[in-house]
């Protein structure tokens, strides 16, 4: 019976303290929520930054190439098997190359490829319009100038076999080797020249480890007929930039979280310290030190729990918004972040109650009540 009433009294004290001092409780809660929200949103961003940036990096195009060894070409079935073994985000585009002659006998590189794949793979190609009718080719800007100077601009010859392409103004401009080439649809290319594709450009998304796994799977598929080469220019720069971004974000996250936590700790400490009169009154009417500690601690911890939950929700929302605003893809809330945020909040609350309680313990209630 006695214990029930004590629990009731305890609950009542907590309740009244929250209700009667709404302003103070709300300010303390606000402080807790800020700390939890900032920690949550930054950790969410940090956890998600890899996948967000890797998506951006894939816009640089292929990060690996399959090249047929020697003068071999890649069998259509092994290209199909490579394409089948990849995830939905990954791209594999076959390319076949040959050197054809224009009407006046100038050499020009003609490439056969799948336009849909090439378009997805090479987003930086500045293309006037992608060819979609038979016999239409995508002509590099410099090749276009050369072809137009010819007496018969559409005529190409390879091994004595002629083909007529229409280059109805569909040019590609990249500032690279592509500008000197003519791109054709792969079936037409093969039918005309009999040359099979010799390379497959791959854009594989994911972490370096998962990219490596995929490449090893492809190595098994193609066997000895070809080799798989990571494009080091792309891979190395990606690793470097990703690493730096991750570290700067991690350091900022830690810094901001620690500082906001300290800042909130200072606020909460002063708020508990300001309640020394409550403390003194309770002690004067016979409350034990343990009871007092329990009341103040419970109050702080309840506040921390509420703050952590609210902060987690707000912080997740903030991270999602930052993801949407910056990467055009929301950052998904990571539940795995919550335990850390919750533990951190409890720790702040605990410290902010323990330090002032320890100070107050040494002072006589009478001194506080007298107002000195």
């Amino acid at each position: 019976m006695a214990s029930t009433s004590r629990v009731q009294m305890f609950a009542r004290l907590l309740m009244r303290s929250a209700v009667m001092r709404r302003g103070r409780t709300l300010t303390a809660l606000l402080a807790m929520v800020i700390a939890a929200a900032v920690a949550t949103s930054l950790s969410n961003l940090y956890v998600d930054i890899d996948s967000k940036l890797t998506t951006e990096f894939r816009k640089f195009g292929a990060n690996a190439v399959v090249i047929a060894t020697g003068n071999n070409s890649l069998a259509p079935e092994s290209i199909a098997r490579i394409q089948k073994s990849l995830g939905p985000q990954d791209i594999a585009v076959p390319f076949g190359y040959l050197v054809a002659k224009t009407a006046s006998g100038k050499p020009v590189v003609v490439a056969g490829t799948e336009f849909a794949g090439a378009k997805r793979l090479n987003g930086w190609w500045s293309v006037t319009s992608w060819p979609n009718t038979p016999q239409s080719a995508l002509v590099g800007e410099r090749a276009f100038t050369v072809l137009n100077a010819e007496s018969d601009p559409g005529l190409l010859t390879f091994n004595g076999r002629q083909i007529r392409i229409s280059n109805a103004g569909t040019t590609v401009h990249t500032g690279g080797a592509e500008d000197s080439r003519i791109y054709m649809a792969l079936p037409e290319f093969v039918a005309w020249s009999g040359v099979q594709p010799s390379t497959v450009e791959l854009a594989i998304s994911g972490s370096p480890e998962s990219v490596n796994d995929t490449l090893n799977r492809i190595r098994v598929i193609i066997g000895n007929s070809a080799e798989v080469r990571p494009v080091r220019q792309i891979v190395e720069a990606e690793t470097k930039v990703l690493g730096k971004t991750r570290s700067v974000l991690l350091l900022s996250t830690i810094l901001i979280a620690v500082m906001v936590a300290l800042c909130v700790l200072a606020t909460l400490t002063s708020s508990v310290l300001e309640r020394r009169k409550d403390f003194a009154v309770m002690k004067a009417i016979g409350s034990s030190q343990t009871m007092l500690n329990a009341i103040f601690l419970t109050e702080s911890l309840l506040l921390a729990t509420l703050g952590a939950i609210l902060g987690f929700v707000i912080g997740s929302g903030m991270a999602a918004w930052i993801g949407r605003a910056n990467f055009h893809a929301a950052v998904m809330p990571q539940i795995s972040v919550f335990p850390a945020v919750f533990a951190g909040s409890l720790l702040i609350a605990f410290l902010s109650a323990v330090v002032p309680l320890h100070i107050l313990q040494k002072i006589q209630p009478a001194v506080i009540l007298k107002g000195e």
């Binding site: 300010t27 640089f60 590189v109 987003g123 690279g176 080797a177 190395e236 720069a237 350091l251 605003a325």
Partner: protein, 420 residues
């Protein structure tokens, strides 16, 4: 009397002032550190992105088409135009000289190599060539523009006749660094084995002067790769400079877009065409704006959190002093006097907290810069007044609401202790 009140308030309530001061200091330290890092991160990342290598290519205006398949150059050596090596230094004399981090001239020559049945491509270039500018020297070459090239052994000197042999070719010829090979009936020392992950692994890379003498064309260069710090492209950058009014052209030329740097290089090097390498230039622009955008938003979030945390700290301090306010008012102080006193206290705290916070934040930003990018970040002095003003605004805002509430209470009620 006012000064005395202020002084005594700080003296007697040391602990309370200290805690509020700590909150302001920490808040402003976050603000400073994040602003400094956030502002600088774009510049730093831009440099990191240069590990993608060159983003501008320069080639002769009347050049014929490149005829290379899988890295094998099928273009007849006699064909095509050349740039003059001596003209290239003009690249470092353009308005954007400081943005040009390096350039590498390239001259491919097809050569016979003893022990190899088919001709091999020998690429002449700079490795780490020292060029004299008016007031200092500029070191440039593939070590700057192709940072992913790795050499087992050592890089050849630019004035030597030593060469690098690509990994694939070296395996075929069974040569190691230190060996001597016969290239076009001349002896050449192999100073290292080159691995690039690209087609260069099947060729020889030599100093430019060696390639020029093999080709019999001293001073000739086929193309130049330039690595430049650029600004991410926007709509304005994509416009054609030929269609711009003089004013617009000036504004366009004064922004370090890849296009405008290329345009100026084209003007500076006779008979040259320069353009951005879209794969690198376009994508790194997007990537850079994403990363700096992220840091900017994180900075805003941190700033917001700092502001709220400081406001909460101020609100707590003032809130607890209702009794003081009640006492002052019952002794005859008018609202203006109370507000002045409290805001002065807040202001004093803000200035002190802001100053210390600025120092701490600047220090932290430096540490972050050193830890992540291995280089110092610039703490702009102009940031100091900005931080103090932010601190003042935040503390005033945080105090204002609480002071107003405290003033609304009847002093008698507050003093009796009934007010909630």
């Amino acid at each position: 009397m006012f000064l005395r009140l202020l002084y005594q308030s700080f003296l007697r309530q040391r602990r309370r002032k200290l805690l509020a001061g700590v909150a302001i200091t920490l808040g402003m330290a976050i603000a400073t550190a994040m602003i400094v890092v956030g502002v600088d991160v774009g510049d730093k990342m831009n440099r990191e992105l240069r590990s993608y290598g060159s983003n501008i290519i320069v080639y002769p205006q009347e050049d014929t088409l490149d005829v290379s398949v899988g890295g094998v150059n099928l273009k007849p050596a006699s064909e095509g135009a050349y740039l003059k090596e001596a003209d290239l230094i003009n690249i470092k004399h353009t308005f954007w000289a400081h943005n040009i981090l390096g350039y590498s001239p390239m001259l491919p020559v097809s050569v016979e190599v003893e022990g190899n049945a088919t001709p091999v491509e020998l690429m002449g270039t700079y490795f780490a060539k020292q060029l004299k500018l008016e007031d200092d020297t500029f070191i440039t070459g593939v070590t700057k523009t192709h940072p992913w090239w790795k050499v087992e052994g050592s890089w050849p000197a630019d004035d030597s006749s030593s060469v690098l042999v690509g990994r694939g070719l070296a395996d075929k010829l069974k040569v190691h660094s230190g060996d001597v090979i016969r290239v076009a009936n001349q002896e050449a020392k192999v100073s290292g084995i080159l691995s690039t992950g690209g087609s260069e692994e099947d060729s020889i890379v030599a100093p430019l002067s060696l390639a020029q003498s093999l080709l019999g064309r001293p001073g000739a260069v086929r193309r130049v790769y330039v690595s430049a710090l650029t600004k991410p492209e926007d709509d304005f950058a994509r416009r054609d400079p030929r269609s711009m009014s003089p004013d617009m052209l000036e504004r366009w030329s004064c922004s370090p877009y890849a296009n405008s740097i290329a345009y100026q290089i084209q003007e500076a090097v006779p008979n040259a065409r320069a353009e951005q390498i879209r794969q690198v230039a376009q994508n790194e622009g997007v990537l850079l704006s994403r990363i700096s955008g992220l840091m900017l938003l994180v900075t805003f979030a941190a700033l917001g959190a700092a502001v709220l945390a400081v406001s909460a700290a101020m609100a707590t301090t003032i809130f607890e002093r209702r009794k003081e306010i009640g006492l002052m008012r019952s002794l005859g102080a008018n609202n203006a006097a109370v507000v002045t006193l409290f805001l002065s206290e807040a202001g004093l705290l803000a200035v002190c907290g802001g100053t210390v916070g600025f120092l701490i934040g600047g220090f932290i930003a430096q540490r972050v810069g050193l830890a992540v990018f291995n280089s110092n970040v610039q703490v702009q002095p102009i940031l100091f007044p900005v931080i103090v003003i932010i601190a003042l605004m935040v503390t005033f805002l945080g105090s204002a609401a609480s002071i107003r509430r405290a003033l609304n209470f009847d002093p008698a009620v507050v003093l009796r202790g009934d007010a909630a």
